[in-house]
C-alpha cells in the first residue's frame, strides 16, 4: 500500500513538474528572470550561431552545462528552493535570475 502511494505521489509530481525553456539568443537569456518549482526543469536552447555555457555556482542547485553548440538543447532539474543567478561562462554579461519555490 505504502509503495503504491509513493508511486502515485511520484507520478503526480512528474505530472506537475514543468519544463521552462530559456532561449539563448543575441547573447542574452530570454527570459532573464524566472520563477520555478523544485523538480521543474530548465531547458537551455541555443539559438545563436556560436557556443554558450550556462552554469551556476549556487551551492544547492550547482550545474554546468558545458560548451553548448548552436542549435542544441540542454536541460537541468531544479533541486532546491532559493534564488540564484545563472551566468554564461563564455559571455559574463549574460545573466538569468532564478527563483525556485
Amino acid at each position: 500500500m505504502k509503495k503504491i502511494l509513493l508511486v502515485a505521489v511520484l507520478a503526480v509530481s512528474t505530472l506537475f513538474s514543468a519544463d521552462h525553456v530559456i532561449d539563448q539568443k543575441g547573447k542574452t537569456f530570454i527570459p532573464h528572470e524566472i520563477t520555478v518549482a523544485v523538480g521543474d526543469t530548465l531547458t537551455f536552447k541555443n539559438s545563436d550561431p556560436f557556443a554558450h555555457n550556462a552554469y551556476t555556482d549556487d551551492e544547492a542547485n550547482e550545474f554546468d552545462i558545458g560548451m553548448q553548440s548552436p542549435g542544441t538543447n540542454a536541460s537541468v532539474t531544479i533541486k532546491a528552493a532559493g534564488t540564484f543567478s545563472v551566468e554564461c561562462a563564455i559571455h559574463p554579461n549574460m545573466l538569468l535570475e532564478v527563483t525556485a519555490k
Binding site: 547573447k27 555555457n53 558545458g66 561562462a89 563564455i90 559574463p92 554579461n93
Partner: protein, 340 residues
C-alpha cells in the same frame, strides 16, 4: 493615382531602408555616458587626483615606474615601449602583455582572465605586484600621507576620508574611467558620413561583420562583447603555462581562455595578444580567421575560431577597416609637476 500610390510605396520603402540602415549602425556608436559606481561618482577633483597618481613614479619601489609606463596614452594606453611582456621595476618581466586601459570603464571584468570586476578592485594590484610597481601599500600609504600636496588633494576629492587603500583605488579608477575613445573615422561613417572611410575599409567592415566572423566576439561599440575564449595561440595541452581564466576557477570552459580585447585604437597598441607574440594586425587577423595559430590538438578551442578561408586581399581589407577605429589622441595634459 496608381502612379502616386506606387511612388509613395517606393518612398515608404526607401524610408524604411534608411531607418534600418541607421538602426543597424547604432550599436557601433560610442555611448554618451560613462558608467560610474554609486559610491564613486566622477568629480573634477577625483579625476585630477587620479591622473596625478596614475603618472606619479613615486608609487613604485624604484621611483621609475608609474601606471603610464605600461599603459601610456601615446601608445593607445599600452606599454610605452612596445614590449611583448610587461616590464616593471628594475627591468622585471611579468607573465603577460599589458592590455589597454582605454574604455575599461565599460568592462565588467578586468584583466586578461577577468579576475577583478571593477576598476577599484583592479587598481591596487599592480602597485603591489613585485613584477610591476613592487610597492607594498603599508609603505606607500604613510609615504603619501607625508606629501602635503596629496593630503590636500585627497581632502578635496574625498572629504574626511583620508588617504586609505579605498580612496587611493577610487581616485585612480576615476581617472581611468575618463580614458574613453575619441571620434574615429569609423564613428563618422557609422553616423552617416559615407566618405569618412575608404571603400577598402568598408569592404573590410562587411567581412568583419560577415564572412570573417569577427563580430561573434568583437561585437558592440567597443569591439568586444566581454567574452572569454581560447583562440588557439598555444598547441595541445598548456601544461600550466597559460591557463587563463582556468586559474580563477577550474571550470572546463575556462581552460586557456582570455578576454576578448577592444579593437578601438588597436593600430597603436602592438604587439598583440596576451603573450605579445604577434606584431602586426595582418598576422593577428590571419590567426583569428584561420582557426588559431595551431589548427590541431588545441584543448578547449572556441567553436567560433575556424578557418574562414580569407584571401590575402580580404585580410588586408579587414586590417584597413581596423585602422579606421583609430581616433585622435585624447585631449590630455600629461602632468610634469607632482604634489610635494
Amino acid at each position: 493615382m496608381i502612379r502616386t500610390l506606387a511612388l509613395s510605396a517606393l518612398v515608404a520603402t526607401l524610408a524604411i531602408t534608411s531607418v534600418s540602415a541607421t538602426e543597424d549602425m547604432s550599436k557601433w556608436l560610442r555611448p554618451s555616458e560613462i558608467p560610474q559606481p554609486k559610491n564613486n561618482k566622477l568629480t573634477p577633483e577625483r579625476i585630477e587626483l587620479g591622473k596625478l597618481l596614475y603618472f606619479d613614479t613615486r608609487l613604485s619601489s624604484s621611483g621609475e615606474v608609474s601606471c603610464a609606463t605600461c599603459h601610456h596614452p601615446k601608445r593607445g594606453w599600452t606599454d610605452e615601449k612596445p614590449t611583448a611582456k610587461a616590464v616593471g621595476v628594475d627591468g622585471r618581466v611579468g607573465p603577460r602583455n599589458s592590455p589597454v586601459v582605454l574604455n575599461t570603464a565599460y568592462q565588467n571584468r578586468q584583466f586578461w582572465d577577468g579576475r577583478a570586476r571593477t576598476l577599484e578592485q583592479q587598481a591596487l594590484g599592480p602597485i603591489e605586484a613585485d613584477v610591476e610597481m613592487n610597492m607594498p601599500l603599508d609603505v606607500l600609504l604613510p609615504k603619501l600621507r607625508k606629501i602635503k600636496g596629496y593630503v590636500e588633494l585627497f581632502e578635496k576629492a574625498y572629504p574626511g576620508e583620508g588617504i586609505t587603500e579605498k580612496t587611493l583605488a577610487k581616485a585612480i579608477a576615476s581617472f581611468e574611467r575618463t580614458v574613453v575613445s575619441t571620434e574615429s573615422p569609423f564613428d563618422k561613417y557609422a553616423k552617416g558620413d559615407k566618405y569618412a572611410i575608404s571603400d577598402k575599409a568598408k569592404e573590410g567592415f562587411e567581412l568583419f561583420a560577415g564572412k570573417a566572423g569577427c563580430i561573434n566576439c568583437h561585437d558592440g561599440f567597443n569591439f568586444t562583447d566581454g567574452s572569454f575564449h581560447n583562440i588557439g595561440l598555444h598547441d595541445g595541452e598548456l601544461q600550466g603555462k597559460e591557463l587563463g581564466r582556468y586559474l580563477v576557477k577550474m571550470r572546463a570552459a575556462w581552460y586557456g581562455v582570455m578576454k576578448t580585447p577592444t579593437l578601438r585604437d588597436v593600430a597603436k597598441s602592438f604587439p598583440y595578444f596576451h603573450d605579445g607574440s604577434v606584431k602586426t594586425l595582418e598576422e593577428a587577423t590571419a590567426i583569428c580567421a584561420g582557426g588559431g595559430r595551431f589548427e590541431h590538438n588545441v584543448k578547449n578551442k572556441s567553436l567560433s575560431i575556424v578557418d574562414r578561408h580569407l584571401t590575402k586581399e580580404e585580410i588586408d581589407k579587414v586590417v584597413a577597416f581596423m585602422h579606421t577605429l583609430t581616433g585622435p589622441d585624447m585631449d590630455l595634459t600629461i602632468p610634469t609637476k607632482f604634489p610635494q
